[in-house]
């Protein structure tokens, strides 16, 4: 029996070598593997065998069948690959465009927030969040902005009712964190803020800020400068120059506005920088002792700095976007560019 199956195998191999067309190969398949083919004929012999040989012979036939199928399929595959260009005269055009998988994008503002988080994470700042609908106390009083103070107009606010408002700045989170935690503190707080501004190319009633706060023993203005320096070089590039200008915020003293050299005109002056060569990117300063008093910190022992930046503003600067409304229209043609 074994000899018979071996012979079938040898015959098949020889015949396969001789085959040159796909049609012949198909014929060979029917001859060996078809319902009335050679291998099927072997099967019919099984019932006639003595019981103890049946299983072994069955296995041999199955192995032969599998092997034969492999040989023939391989031959068919090879012939059909060779056959195509010959038959149709087609050319495989490798310059046709590839099939692009569809991928999405993070919103450009998220990308900026993520970049900011990453730079500050390396400097040991944790990310924290606070409520957007906030008590007046956290938005104003605790930040040394008393009622009826002229600076309140700089933080014009939406109210829900008497003492509940939509926060106009993320500095509120500073107070909430310091109330719960003793120094050392290193946090950044990204989030939405709201101010009743009429919407135009530069204003939106809702926008995003990132607030930063560091409080410890022996923290100085020089530390503030270096930390912001590192952020600016990482985010805007190492050739960008930085300038600190004195300014006023009720919750910092000394207070500063931080400018960077205009990347569009490299400081020579253009319409983006109002011909000054500088663009304002964030506000910063040493935490005012009044703020520390509001959270019962020892103002002699601890010092700290805080900074805040507009996410839309720095995203617009970085990518040369001239209209803030684009961020909230969510036109895919816009979103797909970043």
């Amino acid at each position: 029996m074994l000899k018979k199956t071996e012979k079938v195998k040898r015959d098949l191999q020889e015949e396969i070598r001789a085959v040159t067309t796909l049609k012949d190969a198909e014929q060979l398949k029917i001859k060996y593997l078809g319902r009335k083919g050679i291998i099927q004929d072997f099967m019919k012999l099984i019932p006639a065998l003595p019981a103890e040989q049946r299983a072994e012979f069955g296995q041999q036939i199955n192995a032969l069948k599998a092997e034969a199928a492999n040989f023939i399929e391989e031959a068919i595959g090879k012939l059909s690959r060779e056959a195509i260009p010959k038959v149709n005269n087609e050319i495989f055009d490798i310059t046709l465009p590839g099939k692009l998988p569809l991928t999405g994008k993070k919103h450009p503002l998220t990308q900026t927030i993520d970049d900011v988080k990453e730079v500050f994470a390396r400097l040991g700042f944790d990310v924290v969040y606070g409520p957007e609908v906030e008590l007046e106390y956290y938005n104003f009083e605790a930040l040394n902005i008393p009622a009826d103070h002229p600076s309140r107009t700089d933080f014009d606010t939406f109210y829900i009712k008497n003492d509940i408002l939509l926060r106009s700045q993320t500095s509120t989170v500073q107070i909430r964190v310091m109330e719960k935690q003793k120094p050392p503190i290193r946090i950044i707080a990204p989030g939405k803020v709201y101010r009743p501004d009429t919407v135009d190319a530069r204003h939106s009633f809702m926008f995003h800020q990132v607030e930063g706060l560091l409080v410890d023993e022996g923290v100085s203005f020089a530390d503030l400068k270096e930390v912001l320096n590192q952020f600016i070089k990482t985010y805007f590039g190492k050739d960008v120059r930085m300038r600190f200008r004195p300014s006023f915020f009720p919750f910092t003293e000394p207070s500063a506005e931080v400018d960077i050299s205009c990347s569009l005109c490299s400081g020579k002056g253009c319409s983006v920088c109002s011909y000054s060569g500088w663009v304002e990117i964030l506000g910063a300063g040493m935490v005012d002792p009044h703020v520390f008093k509001a959270v019962h910190y020892d103002t002699e022992k601890y010092t700290g700095f805080a900074f805040g930046m507009g996410v839309e503003r720095i995203t617009m600067l970085k990518h040369g976007i001239s209209d803030i409304r684009l961020f909230y229209e969510n036109d895919i043609r816009f979103l797909s560019q970043f």
Binding site: G104, H107, R122, I160, L166, V227, R245, S247, F327, I332
Partner: protein
């Protein structure tokens, strides 16, 4: 505030071009936003922060220039000859509310000739955008711009009974403003009145009836101090904002009243041929006390992170016109000039020194210690979810949290309570805090369709605002919109849940919210018997041509249940056996019942049940459907025998038959 370059140069010698001057001022904290040539002069637009009312006069700005570049401040002298008649002969002043008016002064100038002011004065006023009127009015403006102290000139002859009373307005009182408009006054407003009527709203504006005209002969000159908060409220209530109210509400110099008043009457004598009456009406609540602050050099160095020597610090303070009473060792004893109401603490002095020393001369260096930062679980989950959806081709969108009051926007997915409304909205379109992100995603879809993007996949992670006890509950949601069918989005959500390592029991319960979802094609998703979110085909009423699906999930809940701890499970050494089955059941039989039925057999080596098709057609009786699925059998400890699998299959079919009346579909 607008200043004139030439005018500024009258108070100090300096050799700076307008551009150099602008640069010095900007670096000292007074941003020069614009420089415009005007005639033979330059007009500089200076942005003065709200804490520096002393810089709302040109002399104040000159002080800053001197502090930056050095030099001597030259203040015009205010000596003049007077008539012998006393001022009390012409006017009687009573201050009824000394809290709102802590200091009131009045002088009288007689026999003035009202005519145009000289060209040099007109030119300077024009340069800073003030229209010249006549010599008297121009002098009041000129002195205000010079000193930052608003002053007001009345036509003395129109003051009834030669009486001035500083008092609260009476209910129903009116005043005709300088622009001719009649205004009603409220009872808590402070007015300057004569014996009959209010003649000015204190600190805000004068009245028409007593204003200086061409026929005016005698002048009553008011120079006073008003309580800033009150001026601010009055100005706001009336909607009247003037150069005067702008300065008073920020706080004027309590020590500058006498000089401003004298300067004005002297100019009236010189430019309007007036005769100054002797003396002054001067009603003062109390003497102004100058603040004295000790400054520790050590503290200065600690805050700034740089060594600044005592003599440098004291020199800067002197240039800023502070008085140094004493300086020894590491201390400077400083007296603050009256015009610097913003300085009352040591830290304020430190800022002054830093400002003039130059922020840019403080080196950037840090000695803060190294500290690691660990991402919170929420942060990790949020990043993971963003990456997941971006990978699937979704774009992230950002939409406004403040929405309109349409019924769609007030959908109550997460709370039965009413949405929060904004008390002072700018527009109807933005007056309510949203309770779901989905309406905004639908708007984003509409925007894109209108701009040629028919098919989109978008998501947003943002908060919704649900009424709470004091502050609302701000729930973070993940919302999805996709141009695909229900089961595609359901599959994405299932996949997300697995991706986040959540293996809790999930249930899909039919749900109805006709404003958002198409009826019978929406589900509430339960995770561990709590609501994870909603999924459904968008309602036809939304008016889109093609159908799409929406989902909103509770992000906080997802973050809470996520599990990124991975444990290795040994891989089975034995091959799995797959069996496809198709059964015919009643139309009402849900897949979940079939699944439950099969799991209830508790066959230990049944590893998976995978639905793949529902078929209704010729071979299937009416009211029935064929449900096809694949079963995966695999044992951990042995190769399964075909009889074992066969028995299991029959057990399953048996249970399906007895419980759901299912028949095996023969192919």
């Amino acid at each position: 505030m607008k200043i004139s370059y030439n005018w500024l140069k009258e108070y100090a010698y300096f050799y700076l071009s307008p551009e150099e001057l602008a640069d010095k001022l900007t670096n000292a904290g007074l941003v020069v936003a614009d420089i415009k040539p005007v005639e033979d002069d330059y007009c500089l637009e200076v942005e003065v922060t709200s804490n520096r009312p002393d810089c709302l006069g040109i002399i104040g700005i000159t002080r800053e220039v001197i502090a930056a570049v050095g030099g001597e401040l030259r203040i015009p002298d205010t000596d003049f000859e007077t008539l012998s008649t006393k001022v009390t002969k012409f006017i009687d002043v009573t201050v009824e509310d000394p809290v709102l008016c802590p200091h009131y002064t009045a002088r009288v100038v007689r026999h003035v000739t009202v005519r145009p002011s000289p060209e040099w004065m007109q030119k300077k006023l024009r340069c800073i955008g003030i229209r010249p009127v006549n010599n008297i009015v121009d002098i009041t403006n000129y002195v205000m711009m010079e000193t930052g102290q608003p002053i007001h000139a009345f036509d003395l002859d129109k003051i009834s009974d030669q009486k001035i009373v500083v008092r609260r307005a009476l209910d129903g009182e009116m005043i005709v403003a300088i622009n001719g408009v009649k205004r009603a006054l409220f009872h808590d407003m402070l007015v300057i009145a004569d014996s009959k009527r209010p003649v000015a709203i204190a600190g805000v504006m004068g009245g028409k009836e007593t204003e200086v005209s061409d026929s005016t002969r005698n002048i009553l000159l008011e120079c006073a101090l008003f309580e800033p908060g009150h001026v601010r409220r009055t100005s706001k209530e009336l909607g009247v904002f003037t150069d005067s109210s702008y300065r008073f509400e920020r706080g004027t110099d309590p020590g500058g009243i006498e000089r401003a008043s004298k300067r004005a009457v002297k100019l009236m004598k010189e430019l309007a041929d007036g005769e100054i009456v002797s003396g002054v009406i001067d009603i003062k609540q109390r003497e102004y006390e100058k603040k004295r602050i000790p400054l520790r050099i050590e503290r200065l160095q600690k805050i700034l992170g740089i060594e600044i020597k005592r003599d440098i610090a004291s020199d800067i303070l002197k240039r800023l016109q502070f008085t140094i009473v004493n300086e020894i060792d590491n201390f400077i004893d400083v007296v603050v000039p009256s015009f610097r109401g913003d300085i009352y603490r040591e830290i304020d002095l430190i800022e002054e020194i830093a400002r003039i020393y130059g922020y840019n001369n403080i080196p950037a260096k840090t000695s803060i210690c190294v500290r690691g930062s660990i991402k919170s679980k929420y942060e990790v989950v949020e990043d993971c979810i963003r990456q997941f959806f971006i990978g699937l081709g979704f774009y992230e969108v950002k939409t406004f949290s403040i929405v309109d009051i349409s019924p769609l926007q007030s959908v109550k997915l997460w709370s039965e309570q009413d949405a929060l409304d904004i008390a002072n909205p700018l527009r109807q379109e933005e007056s309510r805090m949203r309770t779901s992100l989905l309406p905004s995603l639908i708007n984003a879809k509409r925007y894109n369709v209108n701009h040629g993007n028919e098919s989109i996949k978008i998501f947003e992670i943002a908060r919704v605002y649900l009424a709470g006890d004091k502050l609302p509950h701000e729930k973070t949601c993940l919302s999805l919109l996709i141009d695909a069918d229900f089961f595609t989005l359901k599959g994405i959500i299932e996949s997300l849940v697995l991706h986040l390592g959540i293996s809790l029991k999930r249930e899909w319960i039919s749900f109805s919210e006709p404003k958002l979802f198409r009826d019978e094609r929406a589900a509430k998703i339960q995770l561990d018997d709590k609501t994870l979110g909603y999924l459904g085909e968008a309602s036809r009423e939304l008016g889109f041509k093609t159908s799409f699906c929406l989902s909103e999930l509770d992000m906080d809940f997802l973050a809470e249940k996520s599990n990124f701890e991975k444990r290795y499970h040994p891989l089975s050494l034995y091959p799995p056996v797959f069996r496809d089955l198709a059964i015919i059941v009643d139309e009402e039989v849900l897949w979940t019942s079939i699944e439950k039925c099969i799991t209830a057999t508790h066959i230990s080596f049944l590893k998976g049940i995978h639905f793949f098709d529902v078929y209704r057609g010729k071979q299937i009786p009416a009211g029935k459907k064929s449900v096809a699925f694949n079963l995966c059998f695999q044992a951990e400890d042995r190769t399964l025998k075909s009889e074992e699998v066969e028995t299991a299959e029959w057990t399953i079919l048996d249970v399906l038959h007895t419980t759901l009346d299912a028949e095996l579909r023969k192919l």
